[in-house]
C-alpha cells in the first residue's frame, strides 16, 4: 500500500513539474533529466544490482538512439509511419538486440574480464561510428525532424513541453519496469550472483545466464533512454556512444549511490542539474565532476544515498538532533574552503582579465587576489580541522548501538 502511494506521488510529481519549471530552460533540463534517469537506472542494473562494471554502456544508449533517429527519418520520408510515442521503444528493442549479441560472450565472467570486454566493445563501436557513415552519419551525426510523425491524438510534438510528457510517460514506465525487475527471481538472483557467483551455481543457477538476463534488460532500458534522446534532440552523433558518454553514466550512478534503487535517480537529477546550470559559468566543469567522483569513491563508497541512509540509525534512535550543531559548525568552514579552492582554480584558468566570482571581483593578474583567496582557504582549512573532532564525537554518540538497534538491517 505504501509503495502504491509512492508511485502515485511519483506520477503526480512528473505531471506537476513542467507547470512549476515552465521556462524553456526548465523544460529542457527536465527532458535531460528524464533521459539521464532511465540511462543511469539501466546502468545500475549492471553495476549496483549485478556487480558488472561496464565502461561501455553508452553503446546500447547510442545504438538505440541511432536506430530511433533512422526510424524517425523513415517516417519523414514516408516509408513508414511510426508514431513518435513509440520511437523510444524502437530504441529499446535495438538496445536489447545489441545486448543479446554482446552479452552472449561478455557475461561469462564479472570483474576485470567483463570490464575489459565492455571497454573494448565500446571503443570498437566508437571507432566504427566514424567509419560507417551511412548509419552513423560520420562527424555530423544523423538528424531527423520529429514533427513529421503522425500526430498523436492531435499532439504534434513541436514544443518541448509536449516532448516532456512523452519522456515522462516513458520514464515512469521504465522506472516501474526496472523496479519490478529487481523484485523478480531473475532480479534477486542478480544480487546473489553479484555477492557470490559460485554459491549461486551450487543452488542450480548458471551465473552467466543470470548476468546475461540482467545485461539484456539493462541494454533494453539504455536503448529506451537513447530513443528518448533521439526524440528530444532530433540528432545523434558519435559522441553519444563513446567512452565519455559511458563514463558519464557511471559517474551518475556511482555518485548517486549504487546500493539503493533510488540512488542513480538522485545522481542523474543532480548531475544533470549542475551540468546544465554551471556549464555556462565555467569551463572547468569536468574537472569538478572528476574531483567529486574521486571524493565520493574515497569517502562515500555508497554514494549520496548511502550518506542519507547512514542517518537512519540516529533517526530511529531519535538522536538526529545531536548532529545539527556540529554539522552546521563544520559546514561553514567546509563551504568556505571549497568555494575558495574553486576560486583559486578558476583564477588559474582565466589568465586574462578580472572577473567576478560570487560577487567578489578577482584579478588573476594581481598578487592581492591570489594571496587573499589563499589566506581564506588556509583559515577555512584550519577551522575545519578544529570542528571535525566535535562532529566525529557527535556522530559516535548519535550512532551508539542501543540493544534495539541490533535488530536493524536491510539488504539490497
Amino acid at each position: 500500500m505504501r509503495t502504491l502511494v509512492l508511485w502515485a506521488v511519483f506520477a503526480l510529481l512528473l505531471m506537476v513539474l513542467p507547470l512549476i519549471f515552465d521556462s524553456v530552460l526548465g523544460v529542457s533540463i527536465l527532458n535531460q533529466m528524464a533521459i539521464a534517469i532511465v540511462f543511469a537506472l539501466s546502468y545500475n542494473l549492471l553495476l549496483g544490482q549485478g556487480g558488472m562494471l561496464s565502461f561501455g554502456h553508452a553503446v546500447y544508449f547510442g545504438l538505440g538512439g541511432f536506430l530511433a533517429v533512422h526510424a524517425m527519418l523513415l517516417t519523414e520520408t514516408q516509408t513508414l509511419a511510426i508514431p513518435l510515442v513509440l520511437i523510444p521503444l524502437v530504441g529499446g528493442l535495438c538496445g536489447l538486440v545489441a545486448a543479446l549479441f554482446i552479452g552472449s560472450f561478455s557475461t561469462g565472467r564479472a570483474g576485470t574480464v567483463f570490464a575489459m570486454i565492455s571497454l573494448g566493445v565500446g571503443e570498437l563501436l566508437a571507432a566504427s561510428s566514424l567509419i560507417l557513415v551511412s548509419f552513423f552519419g560520420g562527424e555530423r551525426g544523423v538528424s531527423a525532424d520529429r514533427t513529421f510523425a503522425p500526430p498523436f491524438f492531435g499532439v504534434d510534438f513541436a514544443q518541448d513541453v509536449q516532448v516532456y510528457f512523452l519522456a515522462a510517460a516513458w520514464l515512469f514506465v521504465s522506472v516501474l519496469g526496472m523496479y519490478l525487475f529487481t523484485r523478480t527471481p531473475a532480479g534477486r538472483l542478480a544480487n546473489a550472483v553479484r555477492d557470490n557467483p559460485e554459491r549461486a551455481q551450487f543452488l542450480g543457477y548458471s551465473a552467466q545466464r543470470v548476468r546475461f538476463i540482467s545485461f539484456v534488460v539493462a541494454g533494453f532500458f539504455a536503448g529506451i533512454a537513447g530513443g528518448l534522446f533521439a526524440v528530444n534532440y532530433e540528432i545523434l552523433t558519435a559522441g553519444n556512444l563513446n567512452a565519455a558518454s559511458s563514463g558519464q553514466v557511471l559517474l551518475m550512478a556511482y555518485i548517486g549511490g549504487l546500493g539503493v534503487f533510488i540512488g542513480p535517480i538522485i545522481g542523474a537529477v543532480l548531475l544533470t542539474l549542475i551540468n546544465s546550470l554551471f556549464n555556462h559559468y565555467t569551463t572547468l566543469w569536468m574537472l569538478y565532476l572528476g574531483l567529486v567522483f574521486v571524493l565520493t569513491v574515497m569517502f562515500l563508497p555508497r554514494g549520496l544515498t548511502g550518506l542519507l541512509m547512514m542517518h537512519r540509525l540516529p533517526w530511529q534512535q531519535g538522536r538526529l538532533g545531536l548532529l545539527i550543531r556540529p554539522y552546521t559548525l563544520t559546514a561553514i568552514p567546509g563551504a568556505v574552503l571549497v568555494l575558495s579552492l574553486i576560486g583559486l582554480l578558476e583564477m588559474s584558468q582565466r589568465e586574462t582579465g578580472p572577473f567576478v566570482y560570487l560577487g567578489i571581483p578577482l584579478a588573476p593578474g594581481s598578487a592581492m587576489s591570489w594571496l587573499a583567496l589563499l589566506a581564506v582557504a588556509v583559515i577555512a582549512f584550519v577551522a575545519l580541522r578544529r570542528t571535525l573532532p566535535g562532529l566525529r564525537a557527535a556522530w559516535a554518540e548519535a550512532t551508539a548501538q542501543s540493544p534495539r538497534s541490533l535488530e536493524k538491517g536491510d539488504a539490497t
Binding site: 523478480t184 531473475a186 555477492d195 543452488l203
Partner: protein
Amino acid sequence: MSLLQLDNVSKSFGNSAILRNVHLRIEPGERHAIIGPNGAGKSTLFHLISGRQQVSAGRILFKGEAIHTLPPHEIARRGLARSFQVSSLFAQLSVFENLRCALLWPLGYGYSFWHLLSREKALNARTESLLDELGLWQRRDVPAGELAYAEQRALELGLAIASGAELILLDEPVAGMSATEARQALALIRRVTAGKTLVLVEHDMTVVFDIAERISVLVQGELIASDTPAAIRRNAHVQEAYLGVPAGDQHA
C-alpha cells in the same frame, strides 16, 4: 544401485597427485563420514563430486548417470547439494533472501522475470519455515555478512538443505564451533537431513562416530578403508596411517 558411485577417480594438479584411484559407493539413506589427516584430499573429493573441479581420470555417477562432466549448476539441479568449509553466503542479502534464493530453482521458478517474489505465498512460506527450522527467525532481515559465526554456519547449512536434495555433502559443518554450538548444530543437522543421504567431512572424531553409519578413511589421496564405525576403529591400517600408531605396536 548406489546413489553415488566414484569409479577410479583421480585428481592431480600438475605433477602432484591429490587423489589416486578412489572408489566409493554411497547407498541411499546412508550417513557417511569421510575422515583423514589434513591435506588428505577430502575437500578436493567434495569439489570433484559437486563439479567445482574436474576429475583428471575416472568417473562419478549420481543415480546411475555420469555427472563428472557437468557444470556445478547442472549437478545441483539433479538433487545434489553441498555446504562449504568456509561459509559461502550472499553477504549483502538478508538471511531471508539468502534462503529464498536457495528455494527458487527447486520450486521451479527458473530464471523467471515475470513473477514478483513478494506475491509468491508458497515460496515465502517455505522460506519462513526454513528460517524457523534453522533458528534464524530473529535474524531474518540481517545481511548474511553481519551474522555471528555460528549463525553463518547455520545459514550455510540452510542453503545446502533448502533444495530438499537427496544427497547432501557437508564440508566440516561444525569446525570452529564451541562444544555447545557444535552439539546444537549436530542436532540441527540430524533434524534437517532426516530421510536424506548425507556425506560429511569432519575432523572431530566424536562427531564422526556419533553421526556416521559408515566411515571412509582418506590418507594422502588414497581411500584406505570404507566400513562401519566399529570396523574402522579396529582397522589396523587406519590406526597406523591415521593415528600414527604402527600396526602391531598397539599392545606393546
